[in-house]
Structure formats: C-alpha cells, structure tokens
C-alpha cells in the first residue's frame, strides 16, 4: 500500500515538484473519506483546505433561492478541488458534495499559506499549478456559457 508521500509524488498535479516540498506537503496532508451526499465544503464557510480526489465524484453546487441547488461542475478522480484557500477572504464560494463514496487527500491550506509566505519558491510552485487549474476551469466555464450544443443546425 502506498503512503501519502508516494501518492503525492506520483500525482500529475505535483509532477516535477522538489522532493523537499513534497515532504512538506505530506506534513499538511491527510486521507479523508466522504459518503454519498456528504459535503466536503459549504459556501461561505472558512476555506482552510483543498482536496486531491482519489476516488469518486464531487458535485460543485450553489444554492438558488426558491430554486434548490444547481450543479455548476463535477470533478472526478485525479482532479483538485478548491482554490478558495489561496484567495482572500479564504471562504468557500460554492458547496461541494460527494456523489457516492469518495476518497481524497485533504491538504491543510491554512498551514500551506503560511509556508508559502515564508518560502516564495514553494509559493511559486503552488501558484503556477493552481493557475493552470483555474485557467482550465475558466475555459470550461466560458464554453458552458457558449450554448455549446443548443444552436446546432445539424438536423
């Protein structure tokens, strides 16, 4: 069975990261499990962590008054959940709910923020990885706004 250090070293999100930083991340990491319907985070609550999803699916949702919850995006195994811990005021912008049994590695964002402030090389390594994720999510959101399938003239 792999330990956290081995899992993090092999994860594409951390590919190329210096071993000393992986060890530091391991000190901020823990294995977590969520049952179907459990919330990994709730909108407006303090965002002090992020998650590397190892198994299962997460539904990112927001609450629409008188409309119930709307799913904005789903993420799966291998994906990263959460960047609110990086951005003031460090509060979750959306709910994240487990669809089925979900296993993840939770990383203590508050601890990592402090370490990034002390070591800017680490901060750069973390930021450039999250910048890529944010860019991908932004592009995906823009495509969702384009009405990707609706106006096909394909009959």
């Amino acid at each position: 069975m792999e330990n956290l250090e081995q899992i993090l070293t092999k994860h594409p999100f951390l590919a190329g990261m210096d071993a000393k930083y992986i060890k530091l991340l391991v000190s901020c990491a823990s294995n977590v499990t969520f049952n179907d319907g459990d919330y990994l985070c709730r909108e407006g609550k303090p965002a002090d962590s992020f998650f590397i999803i190892r198994h299962g699916r997460i539904s990112i949702e927001t609450f629409i008054p008188q409309g119930g919850s709307a799913v904005i995006q789903s993420i799966e195994e291998g994906n990263i959940l959460g960047w609110s811990w990086l951005v003031p005021p460090y509060r979750w912008h959306f709910d994240a709910r487990a669809i089925g049994l979900t296993r993840a590695i939770a990383l203590d964002g508050k601890c990592l923020r402090e370490k990034c402030a002390e070591d800017h090389d680490l901060g750069y390594e973390i930021m450039k990885r999250f910048a890529l994720i944010i860019a991908e999510r932004l592009e995906s959101t823009r495509l969702q706004l384009l009405d990707f399938y609706g106006n096909s003239s394909k009959k």
Partner: protein, 289 residues
C-alpha cells in the same frame, strides 16, 4: 487528401435517378426532447431494404412545403426501417413535426459518404458527440457494436445542455449497461438531483480510456463544439488524420450539382458530410468559411 470515403466521380445517370422522390409512410413518431423528434419510415409501395452507410443523409420532402437534409439515425444493419431524427428549426422541420402516423412524405437519398467504420477495424474508437450531433453518429455506433470483435476499446462521450436535452436517453442508458462500450455523459447545467458529470463534453476527453496511438475519433456536433474538441483530441495524442468530423452546410440537390453546400473545394453533400480533419482544418480557423 485523406478524406473519409470520398467520391470524385462525375454526375451519372444513377445520380439523376437520385433526384426522384420516393414516397414513404410514417410508422412511428418519437418525441426525443422538447424540440427534437424521430420519424420511422417505410416505403409506401413496399420494396427492398433501404441500404445506407452510417453517416449518410436523406432529403426529406414535406409535400407542398419543401425539402430538408436529415441524417439517417437508424441501424444500418437493419435497413428495413428508415429512421431520421431532427430538431424543429425551420419551416420544413416544423411541417414534418405536424405529420401524423400514416402520413406520407418524400425521400431522396441516401447521399454523401460514411463514417470510416471499416477503416477503424483493429483500432480503438473514440466517439465525441454533442446535442443532436449524436443522431448522425448512432448508425456508426450500431455498426461498431454489430461488429464489436473487430475493434479495440470503444468509448462514447456525449454532452447536452441539460439532462432534459439528452437525445435518446433510453438508448444511452442501454449503452451504459454494456461491458464492451464505455459511455460518458455530461451536461452544462443540472439540478442537485443529477448524479452525472457537469461540464462541457471536451472535459471528458482527457480521461477517455483509449490508446491515442491506435485510435480513430468520430466527432459530430455543432461546429463550435467540434472546434474546441479538436485541440483536446490533439492534447490527448490523437493525430489530426485519425479524426473524422461530420460537417454541415446548406445541402439542396444532394449530388454536388447546385453548389449550395460548397465547403472550400468540395461539396458537403457529395464529398462529405464526413471529412477527415486534415481536409477541413481551415474551416475551423478561417472566419470567412
């Protein structure tokens, strides 16, 4: 040119015969989504099976209203029944929607070329579709599943705007229960009761379990969807010449005579609608086309 199954032949007598409309009777009407429906047709005067290749289209004629090109969406291995799926988008498709079971309409075809389903023997197949773009791909899926042993892994990715916009939901559910085909659905918007993926179909490509070095990809959907699908296929490692697209322009005659469906140096009705991506790359980068 690495076109799918291109026909450069001059117009022949058989082509002229294809201008003749044959009457067909509507045997079944299925409302697929709120604005999409399928017609099951049989020849009014009997006759043999309606042979067609997966990806071909017919011209359907609503008498007294007009003709419209519509992809054949039925099973090419069971050609006795002809199935077309269309969305109500114009005068003719609205007229077709108003027809009842037992009514007749005119059919010309089949026209155009086919998905390269035989060329894909021995390869993995990655099918990417969106919205009503699943309709022209369904005959290819039927064909592939009827010849399943001749292919490697087969993966179907399908995206729709909302769960209610998913085309052929019962058919897709059956596909999802198969062990010899992996089917992934995604929608742009959903309520909390939706348990599936949310996000555009391009986000599914990275995790599609195919071998990109031995994979043929069939793509059909609105051109905006195809435009953003192509870089993701490339990022996955599938080379441009392994990607086939179904294009659409304003098809009228169906035999490359009238010029309405000109796409660069080709006519979609005759040389298409299935193109190798290498042959239509410019369409996705030139604003004039």
């Amino acid at each position: 040119m690495a076109t799918a199954q291109k026909s450069n032949k001059p117009v022949e007598a058989s082509d002229i015969e294809q201008m003749a409309v044959r009457p067909f009777v509507i045997r079944q009407i299925t409302k697929d989504t709120y604005d999409t429906f399928s017609l099951e047709l049989e020849p009014q005067h009997g006759g043999g099976a309606f042979e067609f290749g997966p990806g071909q289209f017919n011209m359907l004629y609503a008498y007294g209203v007009g003709e419209v090109p519509i992809s054949i969406s039925g099973d090419p291995t069971k050609p006795k029944t002809l199935i077309h799926t269309t969305r109500e988008v114009g005068v003719v498709t609205k007229a077709l929607r108003r027809l009842k079971i037992g009514a007749t309409l005119g059919v010309r075809g089949p026209f155009g070329n086919s998905w390269p389903v035989e060329k894909a023997f021995g390869s993995d197949v990655l099918i990417v579709s969106g919205g009503i773009g699943l309709a022209p791909l369904r005959p290819a899926i039927y064909y592939i599943l009827a010849n399943r042993a001749k292919y490697g892994k087969v993966v179907l990715l399908y995206g729709a705007r909302t769960p209610e916009d998913i085309l052929y939901p019962n058919y897709l559910e059956k596909l999802r229960s198969r062990f010899d085909l992996e089917t992934y659905l995604t929608v742009d918007r959903a309520t909390g009761s939706w348990q599936g993926n949310v996000g555009v179909v391009t986000t599914l490509i990275a995790r599609a379990p195919v071998d990109p070095t031995n994979c043929i990809s069939l793509v059909c959907g609105p051109e905006i969807m195809m435009r953003f699908t192509l870089p993701e296929l490339r990022k996955k490692g599938i080379e441009d010449d392994k990607v086939y697209l179904s294009m659409e322009r304003n098809m009228k005659c169906g035999i490359g005579l009238c010029g309405h469906c000109q796409l660069g140096g080709s006519f979609v009705c005759k040389d298409g609608p299935v193109y190798n991506f290498v042959d239509v790359k410019e369409v996705f980068t030139r604003r004039e086309m």
